[in-house]
Amino acid sequence: MHSLIQLSIVVLLLPLLSFVILIFFNRRLPRRGDFIGVGILGTAFGISAYIFWSVIVQTYDPAFRVAWDFTWIDLGNVPGVGPLEIRMGVVIDNLTSIMLAMVTLISLLVHLYSTGYMAGDKNYGRYFAFLGIFTFSMLGIVLSDNFFSIYIFWELVGLSSYLLIGFFFEKDSAADAQKKAFLANRVGDIGMWLGILILYSQFHTFSFEQIYANLAAGKFALSNGWLTAAGILLFMGCVGKSAQFPLHIWLPDAMEGPTPVSALIHAATMVAAGVYFVARIFVMLTPDALHVIAFIGASTAFMAATIAITQNDIKRVLAYSTVSQLGYMVLGLGVGAYSASLFHLVTHAFFKACLFLGSGAIIHAMHHEQDMRWMGALRKKMPWTFATFTLATLALAGLPLTSGFMSKDAILAGAIGFAEVEGGGIYYLIPVLGFFSAMLTAFYMGRQIWLVFFGESRTHLKPADNHHQAHHAHDSHATHGDAHHGAHEVHEVSWNMRAPLVILAALSVFAVYSPDPLDGAKGWFMKMIPTPATVVGEANPQIGALAAGSVAPQHAGVVRTTEVVPPPVVTEHAAPAAAHGEAKGGHVYSDPRQAEIVHAGHAAHYTAIYISSIMVVLGICMAFVVYVFKIIDPEKTANAIRPLYLFSLNKWYWDEIYEATFIKGSMVLARMLSWFDTNIVDGIVNGVATLVRKFAFANDSFDRHVVDGMVNFTAFTVNTTGAVLRKLQTGKVQTYVVMLMLVLFGYFVFYFTRLIY
């Protein structure tokens, strides 16, 4: 076993240890054991940092990969298949080591931050336990080398998310939100599970490496439609977890959880797991599947951005912003901008965690006020928060010199390149939506900064009747609450909450990732995470024709049709490349479409920078016009375009639509089936029973009246006859003589009548 593998397993198990210790013993430990959580995460981060250092810094090889696996389930010698095992394993490549370091770092910072934010909560120890099991599950996703274990950890992060969203479970809104999150994720998960089953049913393995090698060798026996379906179904997992349209509805509600949890799970790590998963399956996605992914990502990015501009809750704005940014990442993968998308995943994780922790600091300082309408002028009172929050905002909006600028532009450049290669038309919608969302992002973040930190303090403007309700509806702890009610004195937060903000803000500066602030591709990240070569060929014959110059036409699309033996050019290049999750030096792609798109993406780099800069500046200007110079009054505008405003404020009415269709529908169906069960199915059973009983009674009465009746009738007849005849047996001679005479008389009458006639 490679020493890095051993270390990674230690990293994986450490948070689990933290969970086990804290869930059972937190009440017996001083400080409810929070130091154990922080300490263990610190150790895990230290080891992860070492792994990062030795893989990324020391080795610096785009093709780096070590893996190890073991037999988990041995099904023996299965008829028709042969020896069959389900294996579990760990893989470490560049992406994994970056993700390991990122997840443990953010988790550590959130642990540290929570010692301040959650102080005094009655379930303080349990909170850290839940953070532990979350971190464990998340690291499991990152380290998995096969579909089965990624699915396992996928559901486990769902569980941790469930537990943490509902951490304040006494609030009905939190209990609703946690259930909603779990169920929405499960809907995505069944798609993912079916996708996994399609692949398993063909190859009898769950391993990424083996499945991709088999695909590259053209061993997929079903039609190409099934392969596309597998890709889209697997992507459904991402739709659920990364809150993509149409399953995005759970993420904003997930803000019912404690704010540090929102930062860790619902902004930086878990929701990005969907993107990470799509990156893992990137090589097997057919162009059709990629198109679906790109359109879903673009529409999510746009839709969420339009909702974010009207929200008043500071966390809801950030939540929709997260949905929107995840849409960017998904869009990026869909258009083939693989490196850029993962780059954005990492940069977003840091600046969005910073924003959430910053908003947590604000909420904490404002005594659980989350409505931005009642904030304002916090710049002076909370200078550290202000500075870090602003830096992260700039990164989110995508201003130059920040990390977000580089990653977002790389995605948008890829989108332009993609649209060009695909032949324009409808495909231009993707970059257009992307750029438009960039403008909206700049606008709503400008609005947020202004409402929170500048202007006058508006705490006193808050309607009093609303106050008490709102207080309980928000992120409050039991011991805080009404004690601080009257005194709204705002202070900067303590060091353990400030330090994470500073570290995260520092990681949002361009220099961490690339020496050139305008080009992320020159940095280590994009060099270390090159786009892997696809193992499935073309589905679009036009592209094949386009690339006729580079690859012989008959080679295009070979892997799709299983009758054709794959020519060597594919098996030799694509298979090992896929197996190692990398492309050989100089990014040569055997697949013509992929090569075209990567090339076009590079070419569109500066176009993207210009357009997006213009859009961002436009957005910021709009925010200034509306909120700083107050040239346009937001309320009047809202009234002027009221239907549009309400449409955005009410989140495009998705919740209402789902409530009216799926939820109501399921409940009605459930009640109908239950009625059917008690009245029809059981009714038939009881009916049969009744019939049998009726028949039995009828039988009984037949028995009593007919069968027994006949018996009794015989007896009756005999009896009656006897009774009548008995009367004759008088024992008197005179009677007998009379009877004899009568008989004789009768005989003579009979005899003589015979004679006469």
Binding site: W72, I73, P79, E155, D172, A174, S201, S666, L673
Partner: protein, 541 residues
């Protein structure tokens, strides 16, 4: 060994017969000791079991030895019937991978059932005598390899169950008991006819005589009586026999549309009997299919995989929807049983190793998980004397240990990875999807994953999360420490789980978690038998 594990409870029952009925504690302890001894024997059998031997059919030379283990085989009834030949019934016990897992499950659930019966106050002596009779009969069914002997145990089982529900049950107990009894009897009458037909169609290669041996019947070449009713060429009669047997076993599973006895029986039955019913008895249905129905008529099984799969899917989805609509917690759990047994049917219908291993593992896991669910329902029913989901709310704040165990059990039931139910469901789907016949069914059945989560999480929320409802079945009182507590009206025991309840639940929780992380202790015993079974079922005829 197997005789001992089968008859230990009956011996305990005889001992109890001699104890005066006022000595309730002695009666309980005798039963518990018998159950524990059964558990020890189960562990010995588990340790002594060689997973390499396949079972299902006879080993080399037509002898069950070398294929089955712990075999006990002596002639039991020999009758000369003159012109009909002779009637040879054997006392024939033995286990293979399929039965050994069920033996362990039965021993486990029986022991937990005894602990759960501790609170029974009415006619304790009669209760425990019947309970022990039931435990023996169940165990006997799983180890019997002679069809006649199996049938005897199968019928014996009905009697104590009828009285246990009919005397110790809830308000509507007579209705539920008679429904259960008649339904099951209906199935077994036809089983008797098929059994007799099989006897005259099969010979034992070792003796050349007619036999009731299920081991001999599992090999198609032993159907060598020309013109016999179930001879290989008699397709129609073989199909009828298959259907009749299947319905008989399907009633026990219970499979839609024969399932309506189950919710009634569960709602009326006392907690320990629900635990036994869901934990073990339902498995006898699917066990019967695997041991008798499928291998005896493999070609009919091959032809009916799709139909069985459809019924499995109906069970899964229909059960989940019905569970979603229930207001009574126990009824909800009963419907969840129907839903989860659907996974077993689906896995069996796949006809491949993954699906069948999944089905068997699901039987084991459903036994432990559902036992846990019913125990937990019993805990709250003892305290609140109601099971209406709407009469609770916010319990997690006041009964944290109970809430934690409920959370584990509920999540195990909805198939959360890391808990045993997930692996079995996953294998069932893997198998069902890999088989081209059942693939479309598997694609529909995954909906069960979502709706399973829906009813479980919804009930969890309504009972445990949020705050106390105004019409809740308990009061809020402020204790001496200034904190709010809850108070149940007629309950003087511990508010949260007490020692006895923990002793029942903790082993199940540990097993559920352990087998969710490392399933091989159970799967390892299953695989060679299942692989053999799949071969037998796929045999070209």
């Amino acid at each position: 060994m197997l005789s001992l594990i089968v008859f230990l409870p009956i011996i305990a029952g005889l001992v109890i017969l001699a104890v005066p009925s006022s000595q309730k504690q002695i009666i309980r302890i005798v039963s518990l000791l018998a159950a524990l001894a059964q558990g020890v024997l189960a562990v010995l059998i588990w340790r002594g079991y060689d997973p390499a031997l396949p079972g299902i059919t006879a080993g080399p030379g037509g002898s069950p030895l070398g294929s089955f283990q712990f075999v006990e085989k002596v002639p039991w009834i020999s009758l000369n019937l003159g012109g009909f030949g002779s009637l040879n019934i054997e006392y024939f016990l033995g286990v293979d991978g399929i039965s050994v897992t069920m033996v362990i499950l039965t021993a486990l659930v029986s022991a937990i059932g005894v602990l759960s019966s501790w609170t029974i106050q009415k006619q304790v002596k009669g209760y425990f005598i019947l309970y022990n009779l039931l435990a023996s009969a169940m165990m006997g069914c799983f180890v019997a390899l002679d069809f006649f002997l199996f049938y005897v145990f199968w019928e014996i089982m009905l009697l104590p169950m009828y009285f246990l529900i009919g005397i110790w049950g809830g308000p509507n107990r007579e209705y539920a008991a008679i429904k259960f009894f008649l339904y099951t009897l209906f199935g077994s009458v036809f089983m008797l006819l098929v059994m007799i037909g099989l006897y005259f169609s099969v010979t034992d290669p070792a003796t050349g005589l007619h036999t009731f041996s299920l081991v001999a019947m599992a090999t198609q070449t032993n159907f060598n009586i020309p013109g016999a009713i179930f001879a290989p060429e008699n397709h129609l009669w073989r199909q009828i026999a298959f259907i009749v047997l299947f319905v008989g076993f399907a009633i026990k599973v219970p499979m839609f549309p024969f399932h309506t006895w189950l919710p009634d029986a569960h709602v009326e039955a006392p907690t320990p009997i629900s635990v036994i019913l869901a934990g073990v008895l339902l498995k006898l249905g699917t066990y019967g299919m695997i041991r008798i129905n499928f291998p005896l008529f493999p070609e009919v099984f091959q032809a009916s995989m799709f139909v069985i799969g459809i019924f499995g899917a109906i069970n899964i989805i229909y059960g989940a929807f019905c569970a979603l609509a229930q207001k009574d917690l126990k009824k909800m759990v009963a419907y969840s049983s129907i839903s989860h047994m659907g996974y077993v049917l689906l896995g069996l219908s796949a006809g491949n190793s993954e699906g069948m291993v999944g089905a068997l593992y699901q039987m084991f896991n459903h036994g432990t998980i559902t036992a846990m669910l019913f125990l937990l329902v019993g805990v709250i029913y003892d305290r609140a004397h109601t099971r209406q989901i709407d009469k609770f709310g916010g319990l997690a704040s006041y009964m944290p240990v109970y809430a934690a165990v409920v959370t584990v059990a509920w999540f195990a039931s909805l198939g959360l990875p890391g808990l045993s139910g997930f692996i079995s469901e996953a294998l069932v789907f893997v198998g069902a999807f890999s088989s081209e016949i059942t693939r479309p069914i598997a694609m529909v059945s995954v909906l069960g994953i979502v709706f399973g989560a829906a009813y479980l999480l919804w009930s969890l929320q309504r009972m445990f999360l949020g705050k106390r409802k105004d019409d809740a079945a308990y009061d809020l009182v402020v204790g001496k420490d200034g904190h709010e507590h809850i108070h149940f009206h007629d309950w003087n025991g511990k508010l949260d789980l007490d020692g006895r309840e923990l002793a029942m639940l903790v082993p199940l929780v540990v097993i559920t978690i352990f087998l969710g992380i490392y399933p091989m202790p159970v799967l390892g015993m299953l695989t060679s038998s299942i692989n053999k079974l799949v071969q037998v079922l796929a045999l070209p005829l």
